[in-house]
Symmetry: D2
Subunit: 202 residues, 4 copies
């Protein structure tokens, strides 16, 4: 029903995270109602993103070097001399790093894994930076690797997978503590969460 | 916390319908993880959209003329000789036109109003194509205008507003029938809907 | 884990509409925390319900005759001389009758069917008052039977079933009108509802 | 619209936890459709509940003594010689005790507080068994009191209140550990929960 060009763009927007066909169509009609200048601003900013923003070679976080620093290979966290070099926190994706930074409780370094892997779909493994993580973990400065993945089935499966691969390195690995989150009611808490909350009482 | 270029693009994506800051950030990181070629495909398709897709001068629907038809002013529905010229269906936005076409019950023409207006925020009026609708409605071929707006408070207020402006033209205006939708339970139906369902029984 | 008496009562409360085991347990602990007098008030009012409230022999609605009217067989609606005797509205259950009364648009009589029947579970048929409805429908005063069931799959299947059984009586049967309910958005309307809304425009 | 007896019972059922007027009406019509014998079974079981089930004088949990044990003052948990006497777990209500038992990780004793208190509505304090808790806490066998309340605003306010009152007794008090529950995603975790999850890593 949509014209070929609209259909083409709906398909591209449908690949964006959280976007389905219906929302993608709304994006296209939104763009159609913008002026030519407004649309050009969007496309030019998207292109500038790829030029200006680099990926840190140590932790794979994005960062934007200033104009006279275009040779920088490391992000602002990896370059920060005040951060502890003995703690490495592995997160799934860059948006998971921000809530940890916001707690202001963590002063170590990060490693962005690039995804999680479900038990069933093993092909997801390819996009994970396992090899890069193992190289990084061999750095003798690192004393503990915190596996900070979602406590979902996929996150758990990935954590187990990481632990198995990190084990031969003889490095201490930890996981985020389980317990009752803010706002939780005992009556609806699952047994595993409640067990952890009881053990971790303080 | 985000770099300036990322921040800039998050702000632009936040203007997209249904998109908030968090989703906008996910879009930016999605783009960052694409290859340069993939990103260029997206921006080039967005730019092509504005070049290839035109807005119908009669109904304001988008359409994509073929290469040797670049002078076309009317969309495929307005040009379709088999469509009834005496029925005009006013919808709020282009995505509202599609479900009506899918019913295969309507064979008349359309008019895309461009928005609705709330009782409180009168400034919304400016983006509505009232003047264009009045010109169109004066076409003597048109015998009935179906006001097919949402039955929300905004849709109702806009329908009343249209009816008031169309009245001097002495043209028949109708609204979509009220009643129980598929899957509804009497116990939870509001009085107005149930009244209409009783009156419209058949 | 619960004591036998608590378990027994949880099972009885679990049979109440909308109540599961967890809510049933909360009811039991609520009762345990009431005083003996408060609990006795509840049980005595439940027993009085069965004594005082009768079921109308014509429409099967509940009604409460006054002390000197204990021989009454008909509810206040069936006895109301101002109600139209030529319209009979079939509803699934007594709670469906109230929203229709609240519209103040219907002045005919009712018939409470006692349930709906799913296509799959034919045993549900037994609790339906089909035989009683057929007897009632043969009353020559009745000119139209409005089948006012939910527009759910079960309601639709039951309506079809009623229509098939009423057909030999040669009496006009109607169903509630379909259309957009109050507050609906075109974009999310299903095709059948939208078709009816277009046909039923006015 | 409902008859007086039905109205009366709807009001009584509306006092049950989680029940509103609409659900209460459904309960009444459910009872009306039961046979006299079925209704009498319900009322007789409710009355037996108050006779058979007692409230433990130590922890305020309900329990059901056998016929030849009618003088029992303590529930089966408080009488269980294998339970640790040095741990006391304070919960809000009896339904909160069950999920803790189900973890099979806790072998101490309980105390049912009888409610929580919001910061704003101080009158809620009256129904709390504060005095009884203080008496219980003075038992020298008890070495630690675990305040196992919901991590909601009300639960937190009540926990603070309890800690303030228990402080003069010089007894160790702990709270359930905070952390990520099963199935949680970092991106949606609040800062406090994530801080606790980081600190409690293992």
């Amino acid at each position: 029903m949509h014209s070929p060009q609209i259909k083409k763009l709906i398909d591209l927007f449908s690949e964006f995270p959280t976007v389905g066909q219906r929302t993608a169509a709304r994006f296209v009609f939104y763009l159609l109602n913008l002026s030519k200048e407004e649309v050009q601003e969007i496309t030019s900013e998207i292109l500038k993103l790829k030029e200006k923003v680099k990926i840190c070679q140590a932790c794979f976080k994005s960062f934007e070097p200033s104009l006279n620093d275009q040779d920088l290979k490391l992000c602002e966290i990896c370059r920060d001399a005040t951060r502890k070099k003995d703690l490495l926190c592995v997160v799934e994706k860059e948006t998971d790093l921000m809530p940890i930074e916001k707690t202001r409780k963590y002063r170590g370094l990060y490693f962005i894994l690039g995804g999680t892997v479900s038990v069933l779909k093993k092909e997801g493994l390819k996009k994970l930076r396992i090899k890069e993580l193992l190289i990084r973990a061999k750095n003798p400065a690192i004393k503990e690797i915190i596996i900070a993945l979602n406590s979902t089935t996929e996150g758990e499966a990935t954590a187990l997978y990481l632990e198995r691969h990190l084990k031969p390195l003889n490095i201490k690995t930890t996981r985020l503590g389980r317990g009752l989150p803010l706002g939780a009611e005992l009556e609806y808490a699952d047994e595993e969460t409640l067990s952890s909350a009881l053990e971790g009482r303080k």
